[in-house]
């Protein structure tokens, strides 16, 4: 064999291995392998759209509950238009199939029941999103980066995210106690230290309020329990107005709270603080906190 032909063979083999290089990651159902760069991606949770936006990839379909504004504006600006595939709880498999995706990213908490159907449509990456922690969502973003063939871009973005969060933390009062919750018409759910929002608050050098022994991410809390927890700062995402917090403010017990005396009750956008659970969302939350905590 001549030297030239052996070079050629080596080059061809190398080229081939680059082209068909399969990416393998661990998802919630085991091993997920993909040997091409997906171009038509459908995501069934907001956090996955956030992860794609972080590396400038646009999904063609999002389960956005048929309300595009639920996707963060910063994310929308990056990814452009998409087709709604229905609600996150019951996405329309027909619409998903009609979009002819080559990758679907689903949430293990919501979509396990249709995992097999989704796989018949396209390779399906299934990851935790609902009730996921901040660290968990960063990890999920890393996995998504690998699968969409943007591993290095995602690692860079995650590194940048760390820097941004540290920069934001420097501008915030150290160890201030911040509690976030979502208020519905008849119930307040505090997002505990184990929740996504709780993790972001810690990552910004702030502390979580002590919400009592309960390992769940979201904890329903009454007014008396809230008085017992008595956080320094209370940030509320109102799902409806007037919400239960608006009603509580007329009760005598409310005035006992530190947040009532120091006027440390603030409104934040629940789409950012509760529903998004991603990289872009965390940075947005940091900016919200700077506005709130530094406004004197």
């Amino acid at each position: 064999m001549t030297r030239f032909s052996s070079y050629v063979i080596t080059c061809v083999v190398l080229l081939f291995s680059v082209i068909t290089q399969a990416t393998t990651v661990q998802d919630s159902k085991g091993t997920f392998t993909i040997d091409y760069q997906p171009k038509r991606i459908i995501v069934l949770e907001f956090s996955f759209a956030d992860a794609l936006a972080a590396v400038n990839v646009s999904p063609i379909g999002i389960a956005d509950d048929k309300d595009p504004t639920r996707v963060l504006k910063d994310v929308r600006d990056i990814i452009g238009d998409w087709t709604s595939v229905g609600t996150r709880s019951q996405p329309s498999l027909e619409v998903i199939a009609s979009l002819k995706p080559d990758l679907i990213i689903a949430d293990i908490a919501r979509h396990e029941a249709v995992y097999k159907d989704l796989q018949k449509i396209a390779p399906t990456l299934i990851l935790p999103s609902r009730r996921e922690t901040y660290e968990g969502s960063l990890k999920a973003a890393g996995i998504i980066g690998k699968v969409v063939g943007k591993d290095s871009a995602m690692q860079t973005r995650l590194q940048k995210h760390k820097t941004i969060m540290m920069e934001l933390a420097k501008q915030l009062p150290h160890n201030a106690e911040v509690q976030f919750g979502v208020a519905r018409d008849d119930a307040l759910f505090l997002h505990t230290a184990d929740s996504y929002a709780g993790g972001v608050i810690r990552a910004l050098g702030l502390t979580n309020a002590e919400t009592g022994r309960d390992d769940s991410a979201y904890r329903q809390t009454g007014l008396e329990q809230l008085v017992a927890i008595n956080p320094e700062y209370l940030l509320i995402g109102h799902y409806v107005t007037p919400s239960i917090i608006d009603k509580w403010q007329n009760e005598p017990l409310w005035s006992v709270l530190k947040v009532a005396r120091n006027k440390h009750l603030y409104k934040v956008n629940p789409n950012v603080w509760s529903k998004s659970r991603g990289i872009v969302a965390a940075e947005r939350m940091g900016q919200d906190l700077i506005k709130i905590l530094n406004a004197k």
Binding site: E94, A97, S98
Partner: protein, 319 residues
């Protein structure tokens, strides 16, 4: 208003609805594309063969079985307001499912139908233990309703204590055909064996309508008949609820409408009510899928919207 030939009309109606269910949805498929869609590799293969076809067939079977179960219960309890719900089966299944979802959120959802099925059957067994072999229809109904209320309060309690899982649990408790496919259809199939048993009971059910004593003097063992009929009804309901969740009001409304169409003779009532039940669920799911696409509403919501007013109307009519 009795139709002279109800069966051809009902069957035609059902076939039209089956085709409509295959054609319409978030993505409409023209009629001439439908046959092509069943060939592997064609454009609409997934939507038609993997999604709409099993779902439509499931709607037919579940609708028919729930309706048949309702007709059997109404036949032996001899009360027009009776339905499989008075046996507490769907509530028992609901409680089992909610317990499974709240206390084992990490476990696989694949086991949910089995858990619900066991819950439903267990509820029926409890009713049987409490009422014993030979109890009157009314005692059975009242005990069943009380038990159902107990299970329902258990569900409410769990959802209040563990509010996190409400979304999934509520969705399941409404009853839906979303995401159900061939696999679920296969789970239902063995239970179809109960249908011939129900038909075999038809003649005796006519007689028991005359009252226990008269039926007995005509050679019917009323207690035994009641037990077998209710057991069949329980099996039909529990298997459907396990797969689709408790789709409300079907078992109540379908036999009623049918009685208006074909009269109370069980030999015609039972098969006709199955067709009516299938038609009702096909309509409910079609509407639920097409009312605001791509949002899919649970079919149970639709049957409740049709069923609840009908139930009220029935209450006011029944003096």
């Amino acid at each position: 208003m009795k139709q002279s030939r109800p069966f051809p009309t009902l069957i035609t109606g059902m076939l039209i609805l089956i085709i409509a269910n295959l054609m319409f949805g978030a993505v409409s498929i023209p009629l001439n594309e439908i046959l092509k869609g069943f060939q592997q590799g064609s454009d609409n293969y997934f939507t038609l063969h993997e999604y709409r076809l099993p779902r439509t067939l499931l709607a037919v079977l579940v609708g028919a079985m729930m309706a048949l179960s309702g007709a059997l219960v109404q036949g032996v309890i001899r009360n027009p307001l009776a339905s499989p719900d008075v046996l507490g089966v769907s509530h028992g299944a609901g409680l089992a499912a909610v317990i499974y979802m709240t206390y084992f959120p990490a476990s696989s959802i694949d086991w949910l139908p089995a858990v619900a099925l066991v819950g439903g059957l267990l509820a029926a067994l409890i009713l049987w233990w409490l009422c014993g072999q030979s109890s009157s229809a009314i005692k059975l109904a009242i005990t069943g309703v009380a038990l159902a209320a107990l299970y329902a309060s258990g569900v409410d309690f769990l959802m209040l204590v563990k509010p996190l899982e409400i979304n999934n649990a509520l969705l399941w408790l409404t009853g839906s055909l979303w995401g159900r496919g061939w696999h679920q259809l296969m789970m239902i199939l063995p239970w179809l064996l109960l249908i011939p048993v129900a038909f075999w009971l038809a003649k005796s059910l006519n007689l028991i309508h005359l009252g226990d004593d008269t039926a007995m003097s005509l050679g019917i063992n009323a207690n035994k008949l009641r037990l077998v009929s209710l057991a069949v009804a329980v099996g039909l309901t529990a298997s459907c609820v396990a797969v689709c969740g408790p789709i409300g009001f079907l078992g109540l409304v379908a036999p009623h409408l049918t009685r208006k169409l074909v009269g109370g003779r069980h030999q015609t009532l039972l098969p006709a009510t199955m067709l009516v039940g299938a038609i009702l669920l096909l309509v409910a799911d079609l509407v639920a899928r097409t009312i605001d696409p791509p949002i899919e509403l649970p079919a149970g919501l639709m049957t409740a919207i049709i069923g609840a007013p009908y139930f009220l109307w029935l209450l006011f009519r029944t003096k």
